[in-house]
Amino acid sequence: MRHTIQVTVNGQTHRVEVEPRLLLVELIRDVLGLTGTHVGCDTSQCGACTVHVNGEAVKSCTMFAVQADGCEITTVEGLATDEQLHPLQEGFWQEHGLQCGFCTPGIIMAAADLLKRNPDPSEEEIRRALEGNFCRCTGYHNIVRAIRYAAARMRGEAVVPRGEAAPTGAS
C-alpha cells in the first residue's frame, strides 16, 4: 500500500507516493536526491540526519515520510540563501568546525535550532545541546567555537575569524 504525501522541502513542494515504512531521511536522500542529509546510524543516536520539520530540529531517521505529510522541511541545502552562507555555515568554515564533514550538516541543523531558542549560549549549553550529535573527527572543540561564532554574527556582533580566507593570492 502506498500513500501520496505532500511535503515542502527547502521551499519546493513535492507530491510523492511512498511506502508507509519509508523514513523521512530516505525520502530526502533517495527520493528527492538531497544527499546533504546523512545517515550515520540505525539507533537514532548520531544526529547526522538532522533536518528542520516545521522549524524544529528533528532526526529524520526517527520519522516516517508519511508523518511529514503537509510539513515544511528544511535541509542543509536550504540553509544558504542565494550563495550567502548561513552564519553557522560560515562559522564552521572559519573556525575549522569540521574535518570529514559527514556529521556537519546534522550538527549545523541542530545548532540552528539551538540558536533560535538561545541566541547567546555558553560553552556548556552548546555542549549539552549537541548531546544528540556525534562527531568522531573534531573532538567538538572547534564545533563549539563555530557555534559561538555564528551566535555572535547572528546577534550582529563583530567576530574575528580564526581561519584566513583562502582566495587571496599575492597581496
Binding site: C41, W93, C100, G101, T138, E164
Partner: protein, 790 residues
Amino acid sequence: MEARAYIGAPIRRVEDRRFVTGRGRYTDDIVLPGMLYAWIVRSPHAHARIRAIRTEKARQHPGVVAVFTGKDMLDDGVGSLPTGWQIGPDMKEPPHYALAVDKVRYVGDGVAVVIAETKAAARDAAELVEVDYEELPAVVDAAEALKEGAPLVHDEAPGNLCYVWELGDREATDRALATAHHVTKLEFVNQRLIPNAIEPRSAIGHYDPGRDELTLYTSSQNPHLIRLLLSAFVLKIPEHKVRVISPDVGGGFGSKIFHYPEEVICAWSSRKLGRPVKWTAVRSESFVSDAHGRDHITTAEMGFDRDGRIVGLRVRTIANLGAYLSTFAPGVPTWLYGTLLAGQYKTPHIHVEVKGVFTNTTPVDAYRGAGRPEATYVVERLVDLAAHEMGLDPAELRRRNFIQPDEFPYQTPVVLQYDSGNYEGALNKALEMADYWKLREEQKRAREQGRLIGIGLSCYIEACGLAPSKVAGAIGVRAGLYESAAIRVLPTGKVQVFTGTHSHGQGHETTFAQIVAHELGIPLEDVEVIHGDTAEIPFGMGTYGSRSLATGGSAIYRALEKVKAKARKIAAHKLEVAEEDLEFRNGQFIVKGTDRAISFGDIALTAYVPHDYPEGLEPGLEENAFYDPANFTFPFGAHLSVVEVDPETGRVKLLRYVAVDDVGRIINPMIVEGQIHGGVAQGVGQALLEGAIYDRSSGQLLTGSLLDYALPRADDLPSFEVGHQETPCPHNPLGAKGAGEAGTIAATACVVNAVVDALYHLGVRDIRMPLTPERVWRAMRGLPTDGHAS
C-alpha cells in the same frame, strides 16, 4: 609585490564550502543508472559450520535479481583476501573469503548476498535466505584461545596461534630486571575498540561490459592499494581494467584502510550482473564488520636503579587478531608496537614477546595510532606508577630518563633510530601551560576538603610514515611505503596536483595546495588538489599512519622542484640569460640584479605554445615524483590532564587537557590543532568510555550499536589547550612529521594516569579501561574492577 607566505598560515579549508552546504559527495550519495542494491546475510553465530544455504525463496522475492553465496564466488575463481604483512616465516595465514564457505568464524561473518532493485527488497529477501548452521563452541578472549582444548578457529592454526614475535635482548633484559633496585609491574588489558567513523562504509561496483572495465567506488583511505589487491589477488583481473575511486570519505581512523569483503562482493557481482551494485553498511553492521582496534592482554615490568633511571623493560602481550587476518593486522601489535617501547627514555634493555591469536571475533587491525597508543600506554603507565611507588614526582622521574637533545640520532634497543627530539622541552612547556606546581598545590588542598583531583602526564613518541621501503620489506610489509605526486601546470598557469594520499578529513586539498602555492608564488585558488581516483593519479599508498604530509607532501615538493627546474630553462631562454643568472621569487624568474622578469604564468603558456622555446626541450609542464623517505618521522609531545573523581559515584570528570606536540614543521596550524583535538578525543574515549564487549559463551558482540558503545559526546569533553613545539624532521624536504595520531597515542595513558593519581593514596594502582564510574567506584573500595567479559 610579495607573494603570500602560505606555509604556516591558518588558511581556512578550501574543501569546506561543499561540506557546509551539503554538497559533499560520499559513496552512498552516488546513484548510477540501473543500480542494484546489495544486502549481506551475516552469521548470527560466532562459530558454526555451514551445512547448507537455501536461497530459492529469497530469489523469488519481488525485485530480487540474484542471491550469491561464498561457494558461488569460490567456484568462479574468486580468491581469498590477502594480508599485506608477514610476521616471520611461520605465520599462519588461513584463507579469508569475502563470503564464508565452510564455516562462519565470527558474528557478522558474511554468508550470502542478496541483490535487488531496491534496498528494501534486498533487505526483505535477506530474511528469506535459510542457512543451516551447526553451531560450534566459540572463543572470544585471546588468552582463553591459547589454552589447551580451546575451540579451534582455523584448522591451519593449531592452538589458535598465528605467530610468536620477539624483539630485543631477552637475557640482558631479564638480568637487568633481576638486579634492578625497583621493579614496577602491571598486568592489564588494552581493550578492544570499534573505530566508528561517522560515515558507514559503502561500496559500488560498476562493470562496463563494453569496455570490459570495472569501477569500484569505495569509502577507502587508499584506493590504489585496493585496486592492486582486488585485481591481482582476489578477482584476478588485469589491474589496468580496474579503476578505484574513493570520493569524499567520512572519516576513517584506520578502519577504512583495509580491503574489505564488501568491496569484492560489489565488484564481482557487478561483473556477473552487468549492472552497478551498491552496498552501504547500517551502523550495527559497521559494528561487526569494520575492523576493530587494540585488544591486547599485557604483562609489563619496568626496572629502575637507585636514582630512578630505567634499567630494563620486559613486555609480554597476547594480541587478539580476530577471526581472520585483516590487511595490515599482523604488523600492528608487532612492529608498530614493540619498536615504540623505548618511548622517550634511555632504556638500555628491552625485550618484548607478542603472541598473535585467532579468536571468534571481528578481525582487528590498525585503529588510530595502531600499536603506538598501546606501546605508549605500556611505557607511560609504568613510568607514572613507578614514580608513585618510588615517591617521586612523575615529571621528575621522566626528566631523569629523557633522551637529551644532543643525543640524536639515538639508537634504541628496539630497532628504531630516532632522528631528532627535545622531549624535556615539550614537557616543560606543558607543565608551564598547565601551571603544574600550582596544580599540585590545588590538588593537595582539594584532597584536604575530600575532593579527589588527579593530574596525569603522558610523554609519547610515535613513528610515522613507515619507511623507507627497504625497511618496510625487511620487516615483512608486502608493499613499498613511498608516495607519489604529479604536478600538472596548465597553459594558463593554473596547477593541478595529483596525490596518492587520500583525504578523509585531514584537509589535504588545502594543505597540499598551500605548499604548491607557496613554492610557486601563485595564488592558492590557482591550485587544485586531486586525490582518490586511480584513473587520475599515477600511483599511491594512501593515507594512514600520519604519513600524508611527510611522504605525500614531500613527493609534491620533489615534483615541484622538477617543475621549477624546467621552468627555469624556459625562463632563461625567454630572457636570454644563463639559468644561473635567474632567481625565482614571488612567482617570477628574475634576472639577478635587474628588474627583468618573466612570470610563472607566462612560462606555463610558453611551455604549451612553444614557438620561441629552448632547443631540445620537450613542450609541456608536468612532472611526477615518487618519494621514498629516508626514515620514519618521530613526532613527540607531552600531554597533561586534570580530572576530578566523584568519591560517591566514581564518575570521572575531565577538567583540563593540555597538549604540547612537536609534529615538525607546520603547514597549517589550524588543521594541525584540529587533528590534535580529534585525536585526543578518541584517546580520552578509550580511557573513559569505549570498549567492545563480547559475551564469552555465545560470542555475541554486546556493544553492537551506538546505544551500547559509548562514543565521546560534546559534553564528555572539555575544550583543549594546545601548544606546539617545532623541531623539524631533518630528513624530508618539508621538515614535517605527522599529526594525525599524536593525540590518540598520548591521551589514553594521560587520562588513566590522572585518575590513578587522584586515587593512589586510597591504594589504587590501576583500573581497567574504560574507567567507568562503576569500575572507579569499585577500585576506590578495593574491589576487583575486571567486570564481566572483556
